[in-house]
């Protein structure tokens, strides 16, 4: 258990155990894990932008914030992040929602135009 936040420390989620989680030698180095997490947060923040939210690393966990209201929550992995976001944004998050996908594509285009 994390002494600061009280979150039970679980094993790596399948999205974080590399692409070969079934192997005995699949444990990544700390540096690899850090770089992968940084990449995950970068992409996550592109996805969260149309939702008005942001994610950051927080002592090995993630902290997600509602940029409009300021509410925040701590989550250990991606499935927990979606639950936390639904809680602090007070809405459902649907990756199949056409409006959300249009906004996401626009964010993508804006990023590319910025170079």
């Amino acid at each position: 258990m994390c002494a600061l936040c009280g979150i039970l420390v679980d094993g790596p989620h399948w999205t974080e155990s590399g692409t070969d989680g079934g192997r005995s030698d699949s444990n990544k180095s700390n540096q690899d894990q850090y770089l992968e997490k940084a990449h995950r947060i970068k992409i996550l923040n592109i996805v969260l932008r149309p939702l008005g939210a942001r994610a950051e690393d927080w002592s090995g966990q993630y902290i997600v914030r509602n940029l409009a209201g300021g509410a925040s929550d701590v989550a250990p992995n991606l499935p927990a992040i979606w639950k936390s976001l639904e809680y602090i944004l007070n809405r459902e998050i649907d990756p199949l929602d056409p409006d959300f996908l249009l906004k996401l594509e626009k964010v993508h285009t804006d990023f590319e135009q910025l170079g």
Partner: protein
């Protein structure tokens, strides 16, 4: 640290009332090849083990001649598994290497699979192995039309065992196989006669077992190719409640970014997990030489694994979905948008 493929695999045996689960379990308990197994059954009486008894360890647990440990499930499955594990760790019962679990005939297996994959204690000692579903050739068609539990049991199966094939005509068996294939095109369907069950073969569909994962994935892919996709895009009403459950395959030619894929799939399963009944696939992941296999049941996703080589010349990613009321086009578009996010570093 115990790694995923060192965890004790749990094989789940499910199937509707009277579909032959107990017969299958009964034969497993006698099979010498399962001497390293523990079997959790609903009740001792039903499987008739008295004459095989070597030692009674307590009121819930016995050791059989085959070397197999047989235990009854108490009121709570989770407590039964944890209790069994405690006794294994304390040396009170032999250190079994696999656990076989019988569900009740009316059980929706999804919560059981979720418990195995999410309970903090269980998941540190066990992993989900193969889900084996028994379907009765005599009553299977009717049950699949009328009983939602029966449909769910087939949907989560890795292997479907058709029981009592000797009691019906081949034409009825073919119709039953066709219906099962429509529901779950990636499940291996086999017929078995009482007393003629190859236990080892039934348990071999576990993709985490050495030397097996390649052939298992190849079978998934061949299964839908052999059907010319004709059923993969047809919506099939499978229950009297007029719900629409169907399967389809997304073939994706662009290498996938693993991180974006993980974000997308967890987001999708968070919102639509109840209606995404299965997702299985082989992925061409950017920066990874080996093909990556994923396998999920509703909210439960197994850790990915690498194959040594591609099963064919085809280098596309293939994702097989079994869904309830979600359009293929919508899922395909969403995946495309998420995977398109990656060029902007």
């Amino acid at each position: 640290m115990v790694t995923y493929n060192q965890l004790v695999p749990v094989f789940v045996i499910t199937g509707y009332l009277g579909s032959g689960k107990t017969t299958l379990i009964n034969q497993m308990l006698r099979d010498p090849s399962l001497s390293d197994a523990a079997v959790l059954v609903n009740e001792f009486g039903a499987v008739g083990i008295d004459h095989m008894l070597v030692q009674e360890m307590d009121e819930n647990t016995v050791l059989l001649q085959s070397g197999c440990i047989c235990c009854t499930i108490r009121s709570d499955l989770k407590d039964s598994i944890i209790d069994l594990n405690s006794r294994r760790e304390a040396g009170l019962i032999p250190r079994y290497k696999r656990l076989i679990l019988e569900t009740t005939g009316l059980a929706d297996p999804s919560p059981i699979l979720f418990t195995l994959n999410s309970d903090m204690i269980i998941k540190h000692h066990y992993r989900l192995g193969t889900v084996i579903t028994t379907v009765d050739c005599v009553n299977g068609l009717a049950q699949l039309s009328r009983r939602s539990e029966s449909v769910k049991q087939v949907l989560v199966a890795d292997r479907v065992v058709l029981t009592k094939p000797d009691l019906v005509k081949q034409e009825k068996i073919n119709r039953l196989k066709s219906k099962i294939n429509k529901l779950n095109p990636t499940a291996n369907v086999s017929e078995c006669l009482l007393g003629n069950i190859n236990i080892k073969e039934i348990l071999e569909a576990d993709i985490y077992q050495k030397n097996n994962k390649g052939s298992e994935v190849k079978r998934w892919l061949e299964e839908y190719k052999s059907e010319d996709h004709h059923h993969l895009h047809n919506k099939t009403n499978i229950s009297r409640h007029d719900k629409t459950i169907y399967s389809f395959t997304i073939k994706y030619n662009k290498p996938l970014d693993w991180t974006a894929f993980g974000i997308w799939l967890t987001m999708l399963l968070n919102h639509h997990g109840e209606n995404i009944l299965r997702v299985k696939g082989i992925l061409n992941v950017k920066g990874v030489d080996a093909p990556v296999v994923i396998n999920g049941v509703q909210h439960v996703v197994h850790p990915p694994i690498h194959l040594k080589k591609w099963p064919s010349e085809d280098r596309y990613s293939h994702l097989v979905f079994i869904v309830d009321g979600i359009d293929q086009d919508v899922i395909e578009r969403s995946l495309g948008v998420f995977n398109g996010l990656i060029g902007q570093n």
